[in-house]
């Protein structure tokens, strides 16, 4: 493209550059709103100039230079108005020259770092998990508030307000938009990974609404995960999370039946699993392993990989999965892991083993209203031939779930108990 660039093409370039532009500008002006405005200003200038001049060789650098020049001009105007000292003007001229000189050379080296700094800031623990997710989708993913609202089944006003508040909180906390170092880095990274996985899960295991999965949200989370792996090639858990998402996403098409109902893992048509994503998941898992990864994400990815490797449910290496859950329980203890461990043990060693483990955790407060617990218990009882008890559990699970599709699945299982168990045994173990 040289001359006659259309607005559509320029906007496509802008969308590619947007997150990096905002990242670089936010570090300069310490304000996400202002950074977004400056980026938008640069787009407006590009829209008026590029159709005439052609797209510059490095459009990202052009947009950044243009936006930074405006930022520095504005700072200078403010300062001049406040204190009319020529000294300040000279000082700022110097700052501008070095900024302008530096930009081209810094483009390749620092932009990754600046983008990472913005990701770390948007995912700062000072914000609630929901605020982090919304802000990350907005400034990094480039989604509109309307798109985010639809993804989270929320109103546009709610999401817009959530983003405004998040930006204010960041401003008040005086965050630096830098990548944290040292001990803080690890803690902050886990906050970033948590946000990306939250976004993924909202798409993969839609907690509310009529649709079982929202693939767009999964794709967005995968894109963020891939981006992060490109920016942080030495962090095992980054690859662990990426591997986990790629392998789980490989089952998206097989996970919802033609009527939209949940198809449990053991009953999915494995020919419909996305082999490209499985292979990418294995590659990412290998990278995590090579980096010494034994964190919770790498371990969950290893679990998911066990299923991906099995050509049929009968080929599943359940003893290995049970052993992985034993280890996962040690690094990331949670009632949900305990429940999945019980499911894995039931598959490896029989329904009684599952019942034994599930009864140990049945009193955990966090699991009291957790539909998967009675669902799993119902499955163990069903497989042990205790149909009346199984039916009660499936019914209890059906009243607890907020997902309409899942409810239908559980009620069908309850009905099957009444008919003497003609429902094919199966469950939906995690992974």
């Amino acid at each position: 493209m040289t001359t006659g660039a259309t607005h559509q093409a320029i906007e496509a370039i802008f969308r590619i550059e947007r997150a990096r532009l905002i990242a670089g500008l936010a570090r300069l002006v310490r304000n996400i709103d202002r950074a977004e405005e400056l980026a938008q200003d640069a787009l407006v200038i590009a829209l008026s100039e590029w159709p005439r001049t052609g797209v510059p060789a490095n459009p990202g650098a052009w947009l950044m230079t243009t936006a930074k020049r405006r930022a520095i001009d504005a700072i200078r105007r403010d300062k001049m108005r406040d204190r009319k000292h020529e000294e300040i003007a000279r000082e700022l001229d110097g700052a501008f020259d070095s900024a302008a000189d530096g930009i081209e050379t810094a483009m390749d080296d620092d932009l990754g770092d600046e983008l990472l700094g913005l990701i770390f800031t948007a995912c700062h623990p000072v914000l609630s998990a929901e605020a982090r997710a919304a802000l990350t989708l907005r400034v990094i993913g480039g989604l509109t508030t309307d798109e985010i609202a639809r993804a989270f089944l929320s109103s546009e006003a709610t999401i817009a307000q959530r983003i405004v508040r998040a930006k204010k909180t960041i401003g008040k906390a005086g965050l630096s938009f830098e990548v944290p170092r040292g001990a803080e880095r690890a803690a902050r990274l886990s906050s970033v990974l948590e946000v990306i996985y939250l976004i993924f899960n909202e798409g993969y295991a839609a907690t509310a609404g009529d649709d079982l999965v929202r693939p767009d949200l999964c794709r967005e989370a995968q894109r963020l995960g891939r981006m992060l792996a490109g920016l942080m090639p030495r962090d095992a858990e980054v690859f662990g999370l990426l591997a986990l998402m790629e392998i789980q996403a490989s089952r998206l098409a097989a996970r919802a039946g033609p009527d939209g109902a949940l198809v449990p893992l053991t009953e999915q048509d494995r020919a419909r699993w996305d082999q490209l994503l499985i292979r990418r998941g294995f590659d990412a898992l290998a990278s995590a392993d090579a980096l010494g990864g034994d964190g919770p994400y790498a371990m969950q990815a290893a679990l998911a990989a066990c299923h991906a490797r099995a050509r049929s449910p009968a080929d599943t290496d359940w003893p290995r999965i049970a052993a992985l859950y034993d280890r996962l329980r040690a690094v990331a203890p949670s009632p949900v892991v305990d429940l999945n461990r019980a499911i894995a043990h039931s598959m490896a060693f029989g329904p009684e083993a599952g019942l034994r483990l599930v009864d140990e955790i049945a009193d955990a407060a966090t699991l009291r209203n957790y539909a998967p617990l009675p669902a799993a218990r119902g499955d163990f009882l069903f497989r042990a031939g205790r149909l009346a008890e199984a039916r009660a559990e499936f019914q209890a699970a059906a009243t607890l779930t907020r997902n309409a599709r899942e409810r239908a699945f559980l009620l069908a299982r309850a009905d099957a108990c009444e008919r003497g168990g003609e429902f094919r045994p199966g469950n939906s173990p995690a992974g």
């Binding site: 493209m1 559509q8 093409a9 906007e11 496509a12 370039i13 969308r15 590619i16 797209v55 990754g112 794709r219 995968q222 894109r223 963020l224 995960g225 891939r226 981006m227 792996a229 490109g230 920016l231 098409a253 097989a254 033609p258 009527d259 048509d269 020919a271 419909r272 490209l276 990418r280």
Partner: protein
């Protein structure tokens, strides 16, 4: 959306002339950009069609045809698989690709069929089967 991006063959690529060190380096940087943007799923360069085979189908007949194949401009010399938001984004990325060949060349972007595209012509069950078999 998923797209496959075909680098079309040229006489040079069909002769098996390997890219220069400079081009390899430039492509390496470009690939790194694609990875960092989170859009790259897979990609590879392909050997010339002197090493290719075609299988012609006609009813029950299966005839194997050895390369090289004549219609150079229609042949493929390499490909990427990308996950992008739309065709505009794919086009913007392709424009950033270094010249893939020493002389004039072409790159072609082809979007994947997705479930939604087939929903109009197929019942959900058959769409499932068709996509599953693909």
């Amino acid at each position: 959306m998923r797209v496959v991006v075909f680098v079309k063959a040229t006489e040079d690529s069909e002769k098996g002339i390997l890219p220069t060190a400079e081009l390899l380096e430039a492509m390496g940087r470009y690939n790194e950009e694609l990875v960092k943007a989170g859009i790259m799923l897979a990609g590879a360069g392909l050997k010339p069609t002197t090493q290719a085979k075609r299988i012609a189908f006609d009813g029950p007949g299966r005839t194997v045809i050895d390369g090289p194949f004549a219609e150079t401009r229609e042949l493929v010399a390499g490909f990427w698989l990308w996950e992008v938001k739309d065709m505009d984004e794919a086009v913007a990325w392709v424009k950033r690709c270094p010249n893939p060949m020493p002389g004039p060349s072409e790159i072609e972007i082809r979007p994947f069929y997705e479930m939604a595209d087939l929903a109009q012509i197929l019942t959900p069950e058959t769409a499932r089967e068709k996509l599953g078999a693909a």
